[in-house]
Symmetry: C2
Subunit: 204 residues, 2 copies
DNA sequence: GTAGCCTGAATGAACAATCATTCGGTCCGT
DNA sequence: ACGGACCGAATGATTGTTCATTCAGGCTAC
């Protein structure tokens, strides 16, 4: 039986590392456990990654890029900030359903210990584009005033808060609930003092 | 002076553990580092804590109780949900300014690895009382409908998101900014479709 | 076709460093 | 002079990483 699978050993290691890092955190995971979970020998990991630190950085960037890729699928500018926010939120919900471990790894852990400059730069670039979305909306009057980074933190923070509540069993979180809450969270961005309603774009 | 020096060695260990756990995480902190940072010998820690795990649990509960104590200072029911939310939010801001490490330790790390049943029960009790606040507001029509735990997660998540943004240097977060954003976050709880304004209590 | 070589991925025992924890001994308040 | 707080070197387990070795399969020479 011809076994396909040339260099997806690297992918197996990354997948095992994601599962373990997400569950118990970088510092509590031994390389030998990652190797065992990936079905390879301990030394094999070092064929693909120079060190545990580099493995963690590769994983971090892979997850960040996957999330960023999902978000960049939204058409840049179309029907205004309200509609664009709707698409962004839907992307988040989709990603949370498709790759929950990646999101939880990114948002439920502190990465300072191992993050290198390249990873930090990637993270900063993504944050900057999120802040830019808010700035555009502010210029057109569709988004309230205030530090764009603060508004981004509010919105993304509430999304992560929902996921964490689901993760810790405090709340049953599914795509339906998240979709329902979209307009509630939009209230964080909408200019105050006037009612805001459903997004422009209809259903699929 | 009287009997100081007795059990504030325990406090010194807890303080050192908080600082280190918060900065790099449980798994990346050696007991010897905690001891050195607290100014005691390695073995001394075991006079006060049976193990590293128990030390972490004691610290976790201390932080949770400090936060809960701050929040319980708000008078239970006075001028309605809007005013009570204002006091809760102010408590959060106060606590974040007074004990930033405690809040960061609680909210920026995954504690599953070491949390025991008592710690989990304490956490659940605090969450339940937060959900109850929302339920009361829903009954009186001052808070929008929806799963109370979800609304709590949205509000607390956005608060934590702000702190994290400040912590990671994406944003300069001070008490003034947090206070400014109070009414924005209240928008997550206020019933939709009508404008909501400033809290009852005046002041500066 | 096939024997023989060659490359480099894969292995897992071995290694030094570090870990959490222990314990015999010192010190001090009473 | 007694008991417990305190120390810090000792202990054995575990850590991240290395390296001599194995082995599969593609290449060349004939």
């Amino acid at each position: 039986m011809g076994d396909d699978g040339r260099l997806d050993r690297r992918a197996a290691v990354l997948a095992a590392a994601l599962e373990l890092f997400e569950r118990v955190g970088y510092g509590n995971v031994a390389m030998s456990k990652i190797a065992a979970s990936a079905g390879v020998a301990a030394g094999t990991i070092y064929t693909y990654f120079r060190s545990k630190e580099e493995l963690a950085n590769a994983l971090y960037r892979e997850c960040k890029l996957a999330l960023a890729g999902e978000l960049l699928d939204v058409a840049p500018d179309d029907g205004g900030a309200r509609a664009e926010f709707g698409r962004v939120w839907r992307s988040l919900v989709t990603f949370a359903a498709a790759q929950p471990a990646a999101l939880s790894f990114l948002e439920n852990h502190r990465h300072d210990v191992y993050l290198d400059d390249e990873s930090k730069a990637l993270s900063a670039a993504i944050d900057a584009s999120a802040a830019d979305f808010v700035r555009r909306g502010q210029r057109s009057g569709e988004i309230r005033s205030g530090p764009p980074e603060a508004l981004v933190a509010l919105v993304f923070g509430s999304f992560v808060g929902l996921l964490r509540a689901g993760h810790e069993g405090r709340l049953s979180v599914d795509s339906a609930l998240l979709t329902e809450l979209e307009s509630t969270v939009w209230g964080l961005l909408a200019p105050p003092g006037r009612p805001h309603d459903t997004p422009a774009g209809g259903g699929t």
